[in-house]
């Protein structure tokens, strides 16, 4: 370890904007003179809206000046705004609650409503069992029918009810293949063009992984997966796939071969975004707790857009991951609470984690000659314990010193869990990007936690006692029930299933190991290709920017019901 010079403080702009007129390095300030919750335009808007609701329904609602601590409303200190990291957008904290942010909702909707289904098994059934001819023309016709049927339209039966296209306009199916000749024969409207969407070196690897196989990237209607659940996605998709094959290939609707097509679409040929969780979690596939960290890093597309900035690519995974895993999964699915938002936002606002991470990148360059702007497996550092200790120690000490030197920064991350997650993430990312090894990154995370706890004699809330103090011991283990490669770990991995401020960062640490090597994908090339599709409602290459758009109410989501409800 050894401190290096880094004059750029990425968080300073945010601090100056948040604490206007105050010296960010001052230890003292004023309190109790901010007019309580009324200092916040958003809280005033809430109070105004609540008044209208109360008048309409004749029942009490949001009343912070009466209900909060018996008449002592929050806002005795400054209620801060937040800059969404690496954007110019400042928002109120409330705007980053997923209930108030349509982009956050759509982010999760777009994952939950997605499955990938291979076509090879179905084509083999059609050709070998039924003697049907499968050609590019029949595939295009099938896709035409499927894009009619998938949103909820009939293809075979008489007198069927159907869904309104205006409500399910986000539902569609495209295909992709590694076979250039086959791709050239697919109508462009139905094709995810790997060559066009990925940098050339990534496209080459991805196409080689897919080979001559063809896959359908399926997105069922947002409103369907919302009304039902993630487990519905493969069922809904399989039903429409079966009917479309029947229509496109003139099959008998009841013949036994249909069962083969159904089995392929529902089981043998389907790639879910998340695995089925144990019964005690009571969740089917395609729910957040089953998303493997490696797969999540393939969903996020920043590495496609910023292949020469693995730090940026990883930080986008952090932002997306903490939103999904902390705010939605642990925050609401698991705990039923509403207050988890600020654990998560600490990791993607005010450029604080960004600053700490880029310090790590500078340290890698300065001490180990690792140039993070030219990712390459050849320059990755051998992940020895000594080197991981050195990287994590220096990045952690620097982060602690920044909090100390800028008291407004400490005030920004006012909770220990926020600081713990952010510091450990910077350490983990530095270790994983620099070594190209996800478990080395996780190991760096846990040294940060121990160092943080001893330095300030505090860490996060109670749960940190367990997860982060025994984490060193499982970070490199590969024994069943004791350890696993980072790529295969997930939110339901033992010890990871209880704490906010961890899972999104872990996902990014796993992703970072691959971004630092310049890999084309982390875990599953099919997933990386599927989420590159520009027709998706949410842009997975820029999750933080999309969340910012949602916060300032400029994001247009799918699944809206305005066509079938009275005009407001």
């Amino acid at each position: 370890m050894g401190k290096i010079e880094r004059s750029q403080k990425l968080f300073l702009n945010a601090l100056k904007e948040k604490f206007q007129g105050e010296d960010p390095e001052s230890v003292k300030t004023t309190f109790y003179n901010f007019d309580g919750v009324r200092q916040s335009p958003r809280k005033r808007e809430f109070m105004e809206a609540a008044k209208k609701v109360e008048m309409k329904r004749g029942m009490a609602m949001y009343d912070p000046e009466h209900c909060h601590l018996g008449g002592l409303p929050m806002g005795q200190r400054q209620l801060m705004t937040y800059q969404v990291s690496q954007t110019d957008v400042f928002v109120e904290g409330d705007d980053l609650h997923f209930v108030n942010n349509s982009a956050m909702q759509q982010f999760w909707d777009d994952i939950r409503r997605t499955v990938i289904v291979g076509m090879d098994l179905a084509h083999a059934t059609l050709q070998k069992r039924l003697g049907k001819e499968v050609t590019p023309e029949t595939i295009n016709e099938y896709l035409h029918i499927l894009n009619h049927a998938m949103p909820g339209a009939a293809v075979v039966q008489e007198h069927m009810v159907e869904t309104h296209p205006g409500i399910v306009d986000d539902c569609y199916v495209k295909v992709f293949t590694g076979d250039d000749e086959m791709a050239a024969d697919i109508e462009p409207q139905f094709l995810i063009d790997i060559d066009k969407l990925f940098p050339a070196d990534q496209a080459e690897v991805l196409k080689a992984q897919v080979g001559k196989s063809m896959y359908q990237a399926i997105h069922i209607p947002t409103i369907v997966s919302r009304t039902c659940d993630g487990g519905t996605t493969s069922r809904w998709s399989a039903m429409q796939i079966g009917m479309s094959f029947i229509a496109a290939y003139r099959m008998c609707a009841g013949e036994a071969a249909v069962a083969d097509l159904s089995f392929a679409a529902k089981h043998a040929g389907v790639v879910q975004m998340a695995t089925h969780l144990p019964a005690r979690r009571a969740r089917g596939p395609n729910e957040p707790g089953g998303i493997k960290f490696g797969l999540f890093s393939d969903i996020i597309q920043a590495n496609r857009k910023y292949p020469n900035d693995p730090a940026r690519a990883s930080l986008e995974v952090v932002g997306a991951g903490v939103m999904l895993f902390d705010q939605i999964w642990l925050g609401s699915y698991m705990s039923g609470g509403v207050g988890f938002t600020q654990y998560a936002t600490a990791a993607y606002t005010d450029n604080i984690l960004d600053e700490y991470t880029y310090y790590g990148m500078d340290y890698l360059k300065d001490k180990y000659s690792f140039d993070f702007t030219h990712p390459d497996p050849a320059q990755c550092i051998k992940p020895t314990q000594e080197i991981v200790n050195d990287l994590a120690t220096e990045v952690n000490l620097n982060a602690m010193e920044q909090y100390e030197q800028f008291p407004t920064l400490m005030e920004d991350h006012f909770g220990g869990s926020q600081r713990a997650g952010v510091m450990a993430a910077a350490c983990g990312l530095t270790c994983s990007i620099g070594t190209g090894n996800s478990n080395a990154g996780l190991n760096g995370w846990y040294l940060s936690m121990l160092m943080h706890k001893e330095g300030w004699s505090r860490l996060g809330f109670f749960g940190y006692d367990l997860q982060d103090q025994c984490g060193s011991a499982n970070s490199l283990s590969m024994e069943p029930d004791r350890g696993l490669m980072g790529e295969f770990r997930g939110p339901n991995y033992p010890n990871y299933a209880m704490n906010v401020g961890h899972q999104g960062e872990y996902a990014a640490i796993v992703g970072g190991a691959h971004y630092g090597r310049g890999d084309a994908f982390c875990f599953n090339p099919l997933v990386a290709i599927t989420f590159a599709d520009p027709s998706l409602t949410f842009d997975f290459a820029e999750p933080r920017r999309e969340f910012a758009k949602g916060a300032i109410r400029e994001f247009m989501p799918a699944g809206e019901r305005s066509l079938i409800i009275p005009a407001r």
């Binding site: 230890v27 008291p407 001893e454 996060g460 809330f461 060193s472």
Partner: protein
């Protein structure tokens, strides 16, 4: 071989202070006087002078099961009397409050009996039988474990440990349970925030030199930089490396 506690590594003043607080053989300085009644008022669990509410009859009056552990462990006075379990909770400013959450827990574990501490980032709670609690609380407030402006007793709404200090040097408390009045810190509300019939004085804030001298937190701006205590940092790296190694392969190669 008898176990000799080492109370942690480090060559810095911070490390030395930590060891001093933890070591029950060291008598910490008594810095202020707070009456028993004032402690009861700050705690807010019972009215001063009222009887201790009980959770069960005194142990002497109830039939104890034939348990070898009970024969080994001498009950505390509160346990003997059947007191209910109550708490005191502290928020400690990161600007050199003399104790800090884990440090409090370690210290209490070494010095007190029959306690159940809980440690978070912005607060530390210790629960135990009520009459034991009052005795422990008095010690925690009267000794150098406490600093009136930088430490406060807060049952709920603890926000403040990481915030900048107010202009008068007090740690932020949205409930303003205690205020600086005439140079003396006075509790106007008990730890949970209920107004008190009379203010309880806990003394004058200590000066910067005292605060820095008694700190148990590393802080590069207002105290001792963590980086400067190389022994401490190396010790943590060693612990981490050993845990990693034996988790990966739980036997010697």
């Amino acid at each position: 071989m008898a176990y000799t506690p080492q109370y942690g590594p480090g060559t810095s003043k911070v490390a030395e202070n930590r060891r001093k607080q933890m070591n029950p053989a060291v008598q910490l300085d008594k810095v202020r006087d707070v009456t028993d009644e004032d402690v009861v008022l700050i705690l807010g669990h019972r009215a001063p002078g009222s009887a201790y509410p009980t959770a069960h009859p005194p142990l002497a009056e109830q039939q104890e099961p034939d348990c070898p552990i009970r024969k080994i462990v001498e009950p505390t006075e509160g346990a003997k009397a059947g007191d209910r379990v109550r708490y005191i909770q502290f928020a400690d400013s990161m600007f050199n409050a003399p104790s800090q959450p884990y440090q409090r827990t370690y210290t209490e574990a070494y010095r007190f009996r029959g306690i159940d501490p809980g440690t978070l980032s912005g607060r530390q709670i210790v629960e135990c039988r009520e009459r034991d609690l009052e005795q422990y609380s008095k010690w925690l407030i009267e000794t150098e474990m406490f600093e009136p402006a930088l430490v406060s007793c807060r049952g709920a709404t603890v926000h403040g440990h990481s915030l900048r200090l107010a202009e008068d040097g007090m740690m932020f408390d949205m409930l303003q349970r205690c205020v600086l009045d005439g140079g003396v810190v006075k509790y106007q509300k008990d730890q949970i925030g209920e107004p008190l019939d009379r203010a309880v004085e806990v003394g004058k804030p200590m000066d910067d030199a005292w605060v820095k001298e008694h700190s148990t937190i590393f802080h590069s701006l207002v105290g001792t930089a963590y980086r400067d205590d190389a022994e401490y940092v190396e010790y943590i790296q060693r612990i981490h490396s050993l845990r990693t190694k034996y988790g990966f392969m739980p036997k010697e190669e």
